[in-house]
């Protein structure tokens, strides 16, 4: 399984806070999972955001970060704290 969390604007657009995805062997990086989600079309195209950010197991990472079954992935828009 892969746990995917959606935060802030993405959570609102998708009306989804978190989802458990059955692990797929062809997934290698964060971007593979992102493309899988975008392919659902409709509201999921919000993840095409060129400034999308992500975190693997609570650490900010790039879209090229390798993933493995059991990971927790978070997808979120550019941060705006401070």
């Amino acid at each position: 399984m892969l746990t995917v969390q959606f935060l802030a604007r993405y959570r609102e657009s998708l009306q989804c806070e978190s989802e458990q995805l059955p692990w797929q062997e062809q997934w290698q990086t964060v971007d593979d999972v992102r493309q899988f989600l975008i392919a659902r079309s409709g509201p999921w195209t919000v993840l095409e955001d060129p400034r999308i950010m992500c975190a693997r197991n609570q650490d900010v990472c790039s879209l090229q970060e390798p993933l493995q079954a059991g990971d927790e992935l978070a997808l979120f828009p550019m941060v705006t704290g401070g």
Partner: protein
């Protein structure tokens, strides 16, 4: 060396005094305080809501603080960030760095803020007189953070 994420308001003056209290080796304390502005994107703000990612926020802030501690000879580095609903003019964030001499504290405070703005999982939502909207990230913040990485490459 505190990292705090809280919904309660805070007093920046009291925070500053606490940073210096009992640290007799400190010759300089530099602080940054960010406040809720009354105008943003042409609409009057009634309230600001700060969302964060509870599983990750403190970890991300600690990582930024630790990087500052590695780069400069600091005596202390403190980050306090509010979450939840904030009213106009209230402080949002407080960063304090202390050192023997001013240059390390100045640079480290700016570094922490530049990295916080681009790497810490906070998102602002403005409730204005014309509706609510998420605040867009700014490219100028990304450029400010990238400056430190460029400086690293020059010194290598």
């Amino acid at each position: 060396m505190s990292i705090r994420v809280q919904t309660a308001p805070f007093d920046p003056g009291a925070e500053l005094n606490a940073v210096h209290a009992g640290e007799l080796g400190v010759g300089a304390v530099v602080t940054f305080t960010g406040y809720v502005r009354d105008i943003n994107q042409d609409a009057a703000i009634e309230e600001l809501f700060l969302e964060h990612f509870p599983g990750m926020t403190e970890k991300a802030l600690a990582k930024i603080r630790d990087e500052a501690l590695q780069r400069w000879p600091l005596i202390g580095a403190h980050i306090l960030h509010r979450v939840g609903p904030l009213s106009l003019a209230e402080p949002i964030v407080f960063v304090a760095t202390s050192s023997m001499h001013r240059s390390a504290a100045f640079a480290a405070c700016e570094f922490i803020m530049d990295y916080l703005k681009t790497r810490a999982p906070f998102w602002k939502k403005e409730h204005t007189t014309t509706g609510s909207h998420w605040v867009d990230g700014r490219d100028s913040d990304t450029l400010a953070a990238a400056r430190w990485e460029a400086a690293d490459k020059e010194t290598r």
